[in-house]
């Protein structure tokens, strides 16, 4: 049965692949909004009005959450820490898969997930009108310019934080192509410094195996979502330094995901946390090093890999 399913999927995939389907966009290139009123100019106010919120809450609670739990079986660590923070907050997460957002919305407490906007790449999610409507409606996404500083994006996000909306943002600016973290951009730290709202770092593992970037269908497996204590900028700390601190925290959480909390803390204390960007080497060696790290895990990370292979 799976053989037939696989064949059908392969055929469907071939039939929708370029040039039959629309071309994919090279990752290194900024993408311009083809129409007026799209991209960063797309207005999302309608998606935060009561009817849209109600519809979205029903979908998230009754469809997205059960599906995410069934597909991704998230093991959540540190969720209790969220009780200590007052919304609105800026949730900062690593980004490996399109599954990250529905998964995070599923595991966030109700008071956050129903008042959460998601920063989404303007050039990818808001380049067509139907896509802009879909993502604004389904995820409460707002368009963010990820390749250059855009005042409008920052102003919109800042204003929403001021109105009590929490913000989910992926500071890597896009999904990791190979599993290693990409360098962080400074938007989240800048918003936190500007609005005074705390940042909640979250580290997600396993979603890349379930729905990787650039190919492959959706698979079942297990994931881990680790929350870190909320962070606020120190008095006088500028966005650049605060951003570096957030990135260091994410590195520790990445280390924790592949070892354990104590080992990660000790390494952080001695300044020996492994680099999250992976080795500066050929693509195969980066993939090799990542697989090596996964095989050292005691937890569901290895399980997820096995499930993928099976």
């Amino acid at each position: 049965m799976s053989g037939v399913g696989g064949a059908v999927r392969r055929r469907l995939s071939a039939a929708t692949r370029f040039p039959f389907g629309a071309p994919t966009w090279p990752g290194a290139l900024p993408r311009q909004a083809p129409e007026r009123g799209l991209g960063v100019d797309y207005g999302t106010d309608w998606a935060r009005r009561y009817p849209a919120r109600l519809a979205r809450a029903m979908v998230v609670d009754n469809i997205t959450r059960p599906l995410a739990h069934a597909l991704a079986a998230p093991a959540v660590r540190g969720q209790e820490l969220l009780e200590l923070v007052e919304p609105p907050v800026i949730v900062v997460a690593n980004h490996a898969s399109h599954l990250d957002t529905p998964l995070l919305l599923s595991v966030l407490p109700r008071r956050l997930r129903h008042r959460m906007v998601v920063a989404a790449a303007a050039d990818h999610f808001f380049d067509r009108r139907w896509k802009a409507h879909l993502w604004a409606g389904a995820l409460n996404a707002i368009p963010i310019e990820r390749h250059r500083v855009n005042r409008r994006s920052a102003e919109v996000a800042g204003a929403l934080l001021g109105e009590g909306w929490s913000l989910l943002i992926y500071p890597e600016g896009g999904r990791t192509p190979d599993g290693w973290l990409k360098p962080f951009r400074g938007g989240a730290a800048y918003l936190s410094v500007r609005t005074g709202r705390p940042v909640v770092p979250v580290y997600v593992t396993g979603t890349r195996q379930l729905l990787p970037k650039g190919g492959g269908g959706l698979r079942r497996g297990r994931t881990t979502v680790t929350f870190s204590p909320a962070m606020s900028p120190d008095p006088g700390e500028d966005a650049r330094r605060f951003g570096a601190r957030i990135e260091a925290t994410m590195a520790t959480m990445a280390d924790e995901a592949s070892t354990d909390w104590w080992t990660a803390r000790r390494r952080a204390g001695t300044g020996s946390t492994p680099a999250v960007g992976g080795p500066e080497a050929a693509p195969w060696r980066r993939a090799w090093a990542l697989a090596q790290g996964s095989s050292d895990r005691h937890d569901e990370g290895r399980w997820a890999l096995r499930r993928r292979d099976s």
Binding site: F18, A22, P23, W25, G27, P177, P283
Partner: protein, 528 residues
């Protein structure tokens, strides 16, 4: 919106497959992650008033020369020479630039009362143009005014009565020129500068000369010392032509040079996807690509050739310069570079290229195997400034069907060259020993003078054009070519691009760096 500059794309997982020309067709190839693809700058804006711009250029010439009307007087001998059918590529839509320029020159000559005017197609050793080609280049007004009276000529490099030997340069190079041009009171030369190689002293010194002159710079040694021949500051081909040009100037031959540049708007609307970046292809582009690919796969080669050679490019003029040869050419070259130059960081192990259906020497004709080699290793390889795109000892991979086919009317000596010379040696230096016999063969001379054949020596020149690349690279692989023809050229055939890359890695090692020249539209790499 201003045209976007060219750029170097590094292929990643999200990069869609890359378009490769493949003769009278095209393919999508997936290049390995990390490969570089060079995209040409977008076509520059055309001059809004080309006729006005031409007129201004003639009235306000560059260099130490008088405006054209001041050089025209009753009773003078005026000769207007113009580039032949090898430019531009593909042939441009009407009105051709030559028509626009020559009409302006003739208007001024008529106003000045000049009666003795002759037009000459500067063929050098190329084939004679057909009447239709001349009419297309010059327009109906000019053609109908001159051709019926025998005043529209085509340069004949084998007519001893109409050649004049002007002397010898310091380097011992004979300078022999068309007699009508050399004995005129003013020679106006009308150029289309499609690439940086065109124009300058090369226009007259090559276009209106003979084998006796050309052999001094059309040879393997000169081409190996032209790095590249698109970069005139480092080109022995240009140095030789400049020496000849200065001797021509010293012989009291007054040349009024007119040079024009084109943008790279190369293909008409229905083929517009050929100059779009793949990830920007619209649904219409994709549908056109798939429909045309499927149709071409089922079309007999002769018909496919006819379809492609009927393409008229929407090229538009971006600049026009007139006046003294060197002053004009400096400005023109800067304009060509502004349109075509692309900065590239470093060389790579492998250079890939998709070769189209046309090169300067097969307009309305067949791209035979020798021309395939010349287009890839002569023209595309040399589209650089600084260093070649591929490293010394690297590999060039060309995609072209390379049919074992020749146009007997246009390329008769090519057939014998392919059968007799390349079976003996493919070394550009060594083939020189056969050159004289082909150049002086009376049958080839007869066909050149009376038919539409390229000169007997022309296939040698095509092979010399490859000399720099052949000395530089370790191997040349042709994807999808006729295997026997490819082997005859001394190259390696491969069925697919993946096979070719596999073969290349045997020579340059695993995980080679790869650069793909996404051309046409034309681009010139400025390799740092």
């Amino acid at each position: 919106m201003s045209p976007r500059p060219g750029f170097v794309l590094e292929v990643d997982r999200s990069t869609p497959p890359t378009l490769f020309w493949h003769g009278e067709g095209y393919r999508l190839e997936r290049l390995p992650i990390g490969s570089r693809v060079l995209y040409a700058p977008e076509p520059h804006h055309a001059l809004e008033d080309p006729v006005g711009a031409i007129r201004r250029a003639l009235l306000e010439p560059l260099g130490d020369v008088a405006p054209l009307p001041d050089q025209l007087r009753p009773g003078m001998r005026l000769t207007i020479a113009f580039d032949d059918v090898s430019l531009p590529l593909p042939p441009m839509r009407r009105p051709d630039i030559r028509q626009l320029v020559i009409e302006q020159v003739l208007d001024m000559a008529a106003a000045a009362g000049v009666d003795d005017v002759v037009l000459i197609a500067a063929l050098a050793l190329h084939r004679r143009m057909t009447d239709d080609e001349l009419r297309h280049a010059l327009g109906d007004r000019v053609y109908d005014a001159f051709a019926p009276h025998g005043l529209l000529l085509q340069h004949d490099a084998e007519d001893p009565d109409n050649l004049v030997h002007l002397g010898v340069t310091d380097e011992g190079e004979d300078v022999e020129l068309n007699k009508r041009a050399a004995t005129s009171d003013l020679l106006v030369y009308v150029n289309i500068n499609l690439v940086a190689m065109d124009g300058g002293h090369k226009s007259v010194a090559t276009g209106l000369s003979s084998y006796r002159s050309l052999r001094h710079h059309h040879n393997a040694r000169t081409m190996q010392h032209s790095r590249s021949f698109m970069d005139q500051d480092h080109s022995e081909l240009h140095s030789s032509n400049w020496r000849m040009g200065r001797l021509i100037a010293a012989s009291d031959i007054k040349v009024f040079q007119i040079e024009t540049t084109l943008n790279t708007d190369t293909f008409p609307e229905q083929f517009r996807f050929l100059q779009r970046r793949e990830w920007e292809w619209s649904a219409k582009d994709r549908a056109t690509f798939m429909a045309s690919s499927a149709a071409l796969a089922r079309t007999p080669p002769r018909l496919a050739r006819g379809i492609f050679h009927s393409i008229r490019a929407p090229h538009r003029m971006t600049s026009v310069q007139a006046g003294e040869v060197e002053a004009v050419h400096a400005r023109t070259t800067a304009n060509v570079y502004a349109q075509q130059l692309l900065e590239v960081e470093g060389q790579s192990d492998v250079l890939t290229m998709g070769l189209p259906y046309i090169c300067p020497y097969n307009v309305h004709s067949i791209m035979n195997p020798i021309l395939v080699a010349c287009l890839g290793l002569g023209y595309f390889f040399n589209m650089y400034r600084g260093r070649p795109l591929v490293r010394q000892g690297g590999v060039i991979i060309m995609s072209h069907p390379t049919p074992w086919a020749f146009h007997a009317g246009h390329h008769p000596s090519y057939i014998d060259f392919f059968e007799q010379v390349l079976t003996e040696t493919t070394d550009p230096v060594e083939i020189g020993k056969y050159e004289e016999s082909f150049a002086t063969d009376p049958w080839y001379v007869h066909l050149y003078r009376t038919g539409h054949a390229y000169h007997g020596v022309h296939p040698f020149y095509m092979w010399y054009w490859c000399a720099h690349a052949l000395a530089h690279v370790g191997s040349v692989i042709v994807v999808g070519g006729d295997r026997a023809a490819v082997r005859r050229l001394g190259f390696t055939p491969a069925t697919t691009m993946a096979d070719a890359l596999e073969l290349a890695s045997d020579l340059v090692g695993p995980d080679p760096t790869i650069t793909h020249l996404h051309s046409p539209p034309l681009l010139m790499a400025d390799v740092q």
